[in-house]
């Protein structure tokens, strides 16, 4: 439990004047979103969300526009107060924090990147990045040094003294990223940070971001509506719909076993070659009957976490099936050409 940096339990957010009443009615009568809107004219923003994020994980939240992603992430640093439920970050109950403690948490431990940048228009890029340090009363020389470093992480050297409106949208987004990194927080909250970037820079930043957070052991909640992005960087993905989390799982689980049609629609057309490992398509080595005229002696071997793309590369070079080994090097399964093709074709075949 101690390694869980973020813990949410049955969190609800209902917007509107009568949110308390609406919450009560929901608990007692189990109303749905439309009824709540009609009876109390309240919008259900977040409905009964629970999840935990362990240290060092990148947790992606996906969902259509208006599904409540931004609302959810704002709960994690209490920019929005939940109507019900508990939220713990770094083992501290967020709703129980005093104002000073909350400010301390936000300044030191939780960095945030906004969908709409939210840079201060009257301050230079450098001063924007230095803002979280300024709040913590870091002296100017020191904070400029740190901010300079953060800016170089996102390739913005030389733009320190510009004003935000003199930068392109993508550059502004990177300033936002640098600002979130500047105070070196344990937790990063990212609300579609890369959506305004061009594909090349986005790709580069994604890789950079993953390696950065992995080496620095940062815990990240990452919102995106791009499944490719979620799969590329997410350790786990949560799919959100109408304020509810419908499914949480690794990219592979989400693609292979979508919980319902909504998720299935989402993952349709995603190339699973990189995603699916040998482990999930192989046949047990015991149940495999070796066809006549073939000897397994020369068959190539591959680790169980090899992905399909790699398996194809191996398979092209030989007519033989591939033997799959586990981490200890023990043979545990076999992938024949037929199995491989079925695996590529996709789920629902068995």
């Amino acid at each position: 439990m101690a390694t869980d940096v973020i813990q949410l339990e049955n969190v609800w957010k209902i917007f509107g004047k009568n949110s308390e009443l609406a919450m009560k009615a929901i608990n007692e009568e189990g109303l749905d979103k439309a009824t709540v809107l009609e009876r109390f004219s309240c919008v259900v923003g977040i409905a009964d969300v629970s999840f935990t994020v362990p240290r060092g994980e990148i947790f992606c939240i996906m969902g259509l526009s208006g599904s409540g992603k931004s609302t959810l992430i704002r709960h994690l640093n209490r920019l929005i107060e939940p109507t019900a439920g508990t939220i713990k970050v770094l083992d501290r109950d967020m709703s129980a924090l005093s104002n000073d403690e909350l400010r301390g948490m936000r300044a030191k431990h939780i960095g945030m990147v906004f969908q709409h940048m939210a840079l201060l228009p009257h301050r230079t890029v450098l001063d924007n990045v230095a803002f979280p340090l300024e709040v913590q009363d870091v002296p100017k020389f020191k904070r400029w040094e740190i901010s300079q470093h953060a800016l170089s992480l996102v390739n913005l050297n030389g733009f320190e003294d510009r004003l935000p409106h003199q930068l392109s949208g993508g550059m502004q987004q990177r300033v936002g990223l640098a600002r979130a990194l500047a105070s070196d927080p344990e937790v990063l909250l990212m609300d579609e940070p890369f959506s305004a970037l061009d594909p090349l820079i986005r790709h580069e930043l994604q890789n950079q971001f993953v390696s950065l957070t992995k080496t620095l052991q940062k815990t990240t909640v990452f919102i995106t509506h791009d499944l490719d992005e979620a799969i590329r960087i997410g350790d786990r993905i949560a799919i959100m719909k109408d304020g509810r989390l419908i499914q949480i799982g690794t990219p592979e689980e989400i693609v292979m076993q979508p919980a319902d049609d909504y998720v299935a629609d989402f993952v349709k057309g995603i190339s699973n070659l990189k995603l699916i490992s040998a482990h999930s398509i192989m046949q047990e080595i015991n149940s495999y009957t070796v066809p006549e005229g073939i000897s397994l002696a020369d068959a190539p071997r591959a680790k169980e976490d090899t992905n399909l793309e790699h398996l194809i590369d191996i398979s092209i070079t030989t007519p033989l099936p591939i033997i799959i080994t586990n981490a200890q090097g023990v043979d545990i399964g076999i992938v024949s050409k037929d199995t491989l093709l079925t695996g590529i074709k996709g789920k629902g075949d068995e």
Partner: protein, 516 residues
């Protein structure tokens, strides 16, 4: 209820149309069929559509009342009244009745005079000729009056014609614009469902009640030759007025007596500020003051303003207004400083606190619209005459813009930027000082500028209660109708205003930034 709910149809397109129609039905409550057809017609064309609503045409005000469109109701009522009054005057109004009476009176007099003249003539009196001339004159006046009466009677016909033409026009216009207006109302209703607009009997009754109040009284007033007196003049009670005003007098006296210490304190503190400013501006040798002003103009607002400032200052100096201008600027400076010191914080509080805002708003309106002469009276009662009361009067008039614009500026700071700052642990105080005020600065400076100019425009009025300066010169000129002197002093005030305005605007530029 003839309200029929329409089931969504199979085809997408027609179901959309049905949804539209259904929403119109819900909006109108009655005659949904008719209005949905009319609205569709209006919404299908980008130009002005010709639709005619016979009910609205015939029963204009009643229709509007029942449909809760009160703007239409009043316009239509007044148009109707106007045409009916013309008609009524033409038909029943005894037009020229007074002229006719006058003619009869005059001709009686002339007859009398003629008789007198006759007898005088017979008696051989000397004044007979004069009397005769008199009688003739009277007769001519009577004839004129008769002609006027005839003309007026003929005017009656014209009134009838114009009245009916106007009435028909009103009916036609009503009919043609009713559906357009109603469609606009429908669009508003779509945004805000709470705005009721369907057919409503209570509203109809209310409208009818108002019509029965208004129409007969108006018609009676304009057609009767001599309407009863209580209609033409409000039966006011002089006693109420007298007792209230004398009660107010006593109240003022009591407050002045009770709060003497308080009022003196205010006067005293204003005087300290003013004295400080006057010493600096008036007693400093003029070359020093000129140099400082010029330097400020040049650095803050550029060479062009500096040249203008030289010209303006020479005008003031050579026409002998130097000292008075400096006194005026000191007065103004004190007033403007106090306005800003009180107004900016007040504006910030207004932006943050609903209650304060809802109290301050009407007070500010009051301060700005109340004629200055009215609050000069209590100011004299409480603070006496002289410069400090003059400054107070100036503050009352000059403060509203800076409060309003500060509040506006703070409110206009984008919430996303505020959120961004808060997310990094910014405290409320830092948020205000380092985010909100800098972002609202353009607005605040505009407010300060406005305030300064408003204060300047009060200079003349403040001089009425003894705040000496350029205003006094204008006042004197006014008293003695000295045109030249008045114009010169007025120009001097204008130049003071322009110098200050340019320099303050120059201050705004460095912090100003392109919006967005």
């Amino acid at each position: 209820m003839n309200n029929t709910t329409i089931k969504a149809n199979v085809s997408d397109d027609s179901s959309m149309q049905h949804a539209q129609a259904e929403s119109v039905h819900r909006f109108t409550e009655r005659q949904g069929e008719y209005y949905s057809a009319q609205f569709e017609k209006i919404q299908s064309s980008n130009r002005l559509t010709v639709t005619f609503n016979p009910k609205a045409a015939l029963f204009g005000p009643c229709w509007a009342a029942a449909r809760n469109i009160w703007g239409f109701f009043w316009l239509s009522t007044f148009a109707l009244l106007f045409s009916l009054v013309q008609l009524g005057r033409g038909l029943w109004g005894e037009l020229g009745a007074d002229k006719l009476a006058q003619a009869a009176r005059l001709s009686d007099k002339s007859q009398e005079m003629a008789v007198k003249a006759q007898s005088a003539l017979e008696a051989g009196a000397a004044n007979a000729a004069a009397l005769l001339r008199n009688s003739e004159n009277l007769q001519r006046a009577a004839d004129n009056a008769l002609a006027a009466a005839n003309e007026a009677a003929q005017g009656a016909e014209q009134l009838v014609i114009w009245g009916s033409v106007f009435l028909i026009l009103v009916i036609l216009i009503q009919g043609f614009i009713a559906n357009l207006v109603y469609e606009k109302k429908y669009c508003q209703w779509r945004i805000n469902n709470s705005e009721k607009s369907g057919f409503s009997y209570p509203n109809l009754l209310l409208g009818l009640a108002m019509l029965t109040m208004i129409l007969p009284l108006m018609l009676y007033r304009f057609t009767a030759a001599k309407p009863v007196e209580w209609l033409t003049a409000f039966p006011a009670n002089k006693a109420i007025f007298n007792s209230t005003s004398s009660w107010l007098d006593k109240a003022f006296d009591a407050i002045a007596l009770q709060g003497a210490g308080f009022f003196d304190g205010i006067t005293y503190s204003i005087r300290i500020l003013l004295d400080g400013l006057e010493v600096v501006l008036v007693d400093t040798p003029w070359p020093v003051t000129t140099l400082v002003i010029l330097f400020m103009a040049w650095r803050l607002a550029g060479p062009r303003v500096a040249i203008f400032t030289i010209a303006a200052l020479s005008y003031l100096a050579f026409l002998g207004y130097w000292e008075k201008s400096m006194a005026t600027i000191a007065l103004l400076g004190a007033a403007a400083t106090l306005c800003v010191l009180v107004g900016v914080p007040l504006g910030i509080v207004c932006a943050k606190n609903r209650t304060v805002d809802s109290i301050a708003r009407p007070v500010l309106d009051f301060m700005q619209t109340m004629p200055a002469f009215v609050y000069l009276i209590p100011i004299i009662a409480f603070f006496g005459t002289g410069k400090p009361p003059g400054i107070l009067a100036t503050i009352i008039f000059g403060m509203p813009p800076v409060v309003r614009l500060t509040a506006l500026g703070i409110k206009q700071v984008p919430p996303s930027i505020v959120e961004g700052a808060l997310a990094f642990g910014c405290s409320r105080r830092k948020l205000l000082l380092d985010v909100e005020i800098p972002l609202a600065m353009t607005n605040i400076m505009a407010g300060i500028n406005q305030t300064i100019l408003m204060c300047l425009s009060m200079v003349v009025i403040a001089s009425l209660i003894g705040a000496e300066g350029l205003g006094t010169d204008v006042l004197m000129a006014l008293q003695f109708a000295a045109k030249g002197q008045g114009l010169l002093a007025g120009l001097a005030i204008l130049f003071c205003a322009m110098i200050i305005d340019r320099i303050v605007q120059g201050c705004v530029k460095p912090t100003g930034r392109p919006a967005g």
